[in-house]
Point group: C2
Chain length 140, copies 2
DNA sequence: GTTGTTGCAAATACTTTGCAACTAT
DNA sequence: ATAGTTGCAAAGTATTTGCAACAAC
């Protein structure tokens, strides 16, 4: 399978002192085209069925680099599962997970972000990253 | 090792249709006396060194019951580790984790709680539980 | 006595790692 | 040429499970 060299990926790899490889491109391509939050195994299997020869190990290794460089967001479901999503627009958001349907709703609230910063500051810290998930049920 | 029958534990177990056993009491006692957030293995080892014969399996099985019944709070560190703390006073709080020192600071902010509820409501949901962790660094 | 509970070891789920073969530079 | 990268399978980590012996009721 062919793929177009992503300039952003090239830059990130260079910055990290890593080489550009077809496998790393393939993993990024696969995540980039995700419409939903997906787990590592799913990404691996999809690559496999598209005749990309990328091992599970490489999928995990590449995801680490992408997460570290803000190209992918890691979402911890809190039950041992991790889902990933591309950060194309680099727009931050948190998640609301419906306990009845499993539906994941993304949300962003400026006031909430500010409040977090304020709380950390009050303790002498600044927020580097945060995890914020609301486990919800439909009203009525 | 001896232990005093905890009435609250007895009630919770009855409500769940479970029997009162010395092992369940021992696990709860061990967690209850925690000054810090601890993991399951730590709780298991501590029990062992105190001559309580409780298996790892029972530690995990009991923690599940305690968490479900709000006697213990589970704290997901987001890297596969889970820490537990007793909920004696049943006072809700979230966590701030210092990335430099590993120090865990507990915080509670009414405004933040309200804001969460409001956000969920706007989407037609009510918050059942939430995970909110700030990974921070000291200012300067 | 009956049914739930326990301990054990094996199984599971997810992720990481050692290493020899391979590939980008 | 050489140093980083890959795939594989094995190891690791945290937790769960099947089952026979056992304990609570």
């Amino acid at each position: 399978m062919s793929s177009i060299k992503s300039q952003h990926l090239v830059e990130v790899l260079r910055k990290e002192g890593l080489r550009y490889t077809s496998q790393r491109q393939a993993v990024w391509d696969e995540i980039k085209k995700s419409e939903e939050h997906r787990d590592a195994e799913d990404i691996y299997l999809q690559l496999k069925s598209n005749n990309h020869n990328v091992s599970r190990a490489t999928v995990y290794r590449t995801i680490d680099v992408l997460v570290k460089n803000h190209m992918v967001r890691k979402m911890d479901l809190g039950d041992g599962r991790n889902l990933f999503e591309p950060r194309i627009d680099d727009e931050h958001h948190d998640h609301m997970i419906c306990l009845d349907t499993g539906k994941i709703i993304e949300f962003f609230d400026e006031e909430l972000e500010d409040l977090q910063d304020k709380i950390a500051e009050k303790h002498g810290y600044k927020v580097v990253r945060h995890v914020h998930q609301l486990f919800v049920k439909p009203i009525k």
